[in-house]
Amino acid sequence: MKDREVIHAALHEIARRILLNRVLRELVYAAGVVLFSLLVFQLIRPAAGRAGMLLVAGLGIGLACFCIYVAWRAFRRVPLSQAAGEADARARLRDELKSACWFLTNEGATPFVREQVARAARTAQHLDPAALVPTRTPRNLPVVTALAVLLAATSWVMPQLSHSWETLARHDRPAYPKEAADLRARLKELPPDPEVQQVEQALSVIERPEASAEEVERAVKAVREAGEQMNMRAAAASEALADLAATMAGRADLARAAGALEDGRTQEAMAQIQRAVRDAAEGGMDTDRETLQRTLRIVEEADAVMQARNEIAEIQREMQDFHALSAQHSPYSPGQPDPSPPPEAGRVQLHSGGVSQLGARLRLDDDESKQEGSGVGMGSGDSPSLALEGASTARLDVQLQLEAVRIESGEGGEPADASWFLVPSREQAAAAGLASVREGQAYTRADVMSPARIPLRQRQLVKDYFINLHESQDQ
C-alpha cells in the first residue's frame, strides 16, 4: 500500500469517528434544546390562554428550523485535513499528519516532502483510530435525560398542566359535561314540567364542551332557580295534601287514606282512594265517585310534584359537588362567588300560597253550596293566591292556625314528620320567619295586630282578612 493510501485510510477512519461523535453530540444537544423548549412551553401554556395555538405554531416552526440547522451541522462532511489535525492534537504528532495531508494534495514531490510523507505513513499505520477518537457519550446527556424525566413528570404526574389548558383557554370554564349528560338522562323519567324542562335545558348547556364559563354559570343559576321553584310547588302540594287529609279524615271510608297522607305515604293513600272510587262506582254514587277521582288526581299530581322536587334537589346537589370540584381545578375560580345553592336548598320549603287553591278546591268539593265568587290565583309559587271575592271569611286565628299546621308537634314534642318542616332558603328566611309564626299562635289579637309582631310573610294575609271583614260587615 502506498504512503498516500495508508495516510488516507487512517484519516478516513478518524474522520468517520469524528463524525459519529459529532452527530451524537449534536443530537443530544438538539434533544436538550427541544426538551427544554417543550418543558418551558408546558409550563407557560396554561398562562398563554387563547394564544396557545400561536405559541404552538411558533414553537413548532422554531424547533423545525433549529433541527434542520443542527442536522446540517451534525452531518456535514469531515475533511481529511480536519481529521489529520484532530489526530495530530490527540496523538501529539506535532502537525505530522496535517503537514503530510497538505503535502499530498498541494506540494510538489521534493525529497524532503517524500520523506515527510513516508514518515507520516509509518506513523499513521501505527495509529489506533478507536483509541485516538473513541466514541464518547455526550457530556450533556445527563442533563438531557433529566430534562426528559422532568418533561414526562409534568406531562403525566401533573395532568392538569397538560389537560387543563383548554379549560383555561375558555376562561376557567368548569368542566363536567359527562356528568351533566348523566344527570340529564335521569330527568327523562320525570313529567315534563316547566321546571324539569328548565333543568334539562340548563344541563344541555353544561354538556356542550364549547360552552363558556358565563353560559355554565347561567345554567347553574337556572337549575338553582328551577329547584327553588320546584321546592315551592312541592311545599304547596304538601300543604294541599295536608288539607286534603284533614278533609278526608271526616269520612270513615277515607280515614286510612287520610292517615297515610298525613304520614306522607302518598302511594298507600292513592291506593285507598282508588278503592273508595271503586266502592263508590259499585255503589252507584256518581257524585262521590267524581269527587274521589278528583281527589285522587290531586294526590297523584302532588305525588308527582314531590318526586320531581326530590329528583331536582338531588340533581342540584350533585351539580353543586361537580361544580365545586371543577372550580378547585380552576385557578380563576376562587375569587368568584359560590354559585351553588345553600345546603338547605334541597329541602322543601313551606309556603302558604301554594295551599290555597288546592285547599279551597277540597273545601268546595265538600260543600259546593258554600261557594261564593270564584277561586283565582296561582297554584304554585310563593305569592299567595288572591282571596275569594265575597267569600265568607274565617277567623284570623283559624287561618293562622292553618298556616302553622305543618309544624304541629307530633309525639315527644318533635315534628310529626321531619320532611314537613322545610327550612326556607336564605332569601325566604329573610322574608318570613317560620318560628315567628309558631310563636304567634299564642298571641293575643293585639299582639297579632301589631305590625311589628306580624311576620312579613303573613302581613298580606292579615291585611286581606281585615279588608274582607270590613266588606262582610258592609254587606
Binding site: S81, E86, R94, D95, S99, F103, F112, Q116
Partner: protein, 331 residues
Amino acid sequence: MNTVVDRQIQAFRDQFQRVRDEIARVIVGNEDVVANVMTCLLARGHVLLEGIPGVGKTKLVQTMADAMHLRFSRVQFTPDLMPGDIIGTSIVREDDSGKKFFEFQRGPIFSNMVLADEINRATPKTQSALLEAMQENSVSAGGSTHALDQPFFVLATQNPIEMEGTYPLPEAQMDRFLFKLKLDFPDVGQLHTIVDRTTQQNEPEVERVLEREQILDMRETVRAIPVARPVQEYAIRLTLATHPESSGGHEMARKYVRFGSSPRGTQSLILGAKVHALMNDRVYVSCEDVRAVTLPAMRHRILLNFEAEAERIDPDQILQRILETVPEPKE
C-alpha cells in the same frame, strides 16, 4: 531504511550538536543563546545580542568562529567610527613601474563572522553601512561592488545600559536582524565555572569541528525543509496578532503596540522554525517549531507605545500572551 534525506538530516543534527558541544567547552550557560546564534547562522540571518558588559558576548562569537573554522573580525563601534572603517577604503598604490592606482583595501566586514560590538554607539551613517552589507551581502566602494564571503554572519551587540550618547538602532534597521537574543547574567554555579576556566594557566580552547563548506550545505538543507500551509498560516496569524490595527490583532497588542512585526518577522519565524525542526529530527515544520522561535524572531520587531513603556511592559510579555491565545489552524 536510511534515505538520503535521512542521512542529510542526521548529518545536520550531528554537526549542529558538535558545534554546540564545542562552544559549551568555553561558554558557560546560555545554551539556548548558542543554539539560537547557530540557528541564525544556518538560516542566513544575523543576530543582535543584547546583554550587560562582561557576560561573554564577544567571547561567544569568537569561540563560534573558532569552532567553525570561519574568518572572524571584530569592530568596536564608536561615535567616530566611519563607514570606511568597516567596509574598507580605496587607497593609492604604486606599482613597480611607479604607476599609481587605487586599490580597495577591504575592511573588517570582509570576514565570515563579524562582531559589531556596541553597534548603537556608532553614528547612523556607519550603522547603515553595516546594515546595508548585511542585507545585500555585498559592499559597494570606489564604483565597484565587492561580494562578501559566504557564510557572512554579523553579530551585533547592544548594551542596554549607559544609553547616553548612543544612537539606538532605528526600527527599520533592527528589522534586518533575524533574531534578537538576550544574554542573561550567569547564576552562581555558572560564575564559579567561569572563574575556574578563565583564571587558570590553561584556558580551554575549542577545536574546529565544522568547515565552511559544511556550513553552506547545512544552509541548503534548511532551505529545503518544506512548510505546510497550515503551519505557515499559524506563523502569519502570530505576525498579524502583533498588529494593533489588524483584525487578527491581539488585545494586548491593541493596547501596548504602536507598530507590529513586518513581513520579515514571518520570514524569520519560518526560517528559524526550519532549523528548529531539523534540530528535532523532523523534515517538516510544525507549529511547535514556530512557537519555539517566536520570541527571538519577533521581540525586536514590535514597537511599543508610551503606555507600554509607562507600565514597563516588554515585547516578550506581549508575545507570550499572543502565543497563549492565538490558536493553531485545525486543518
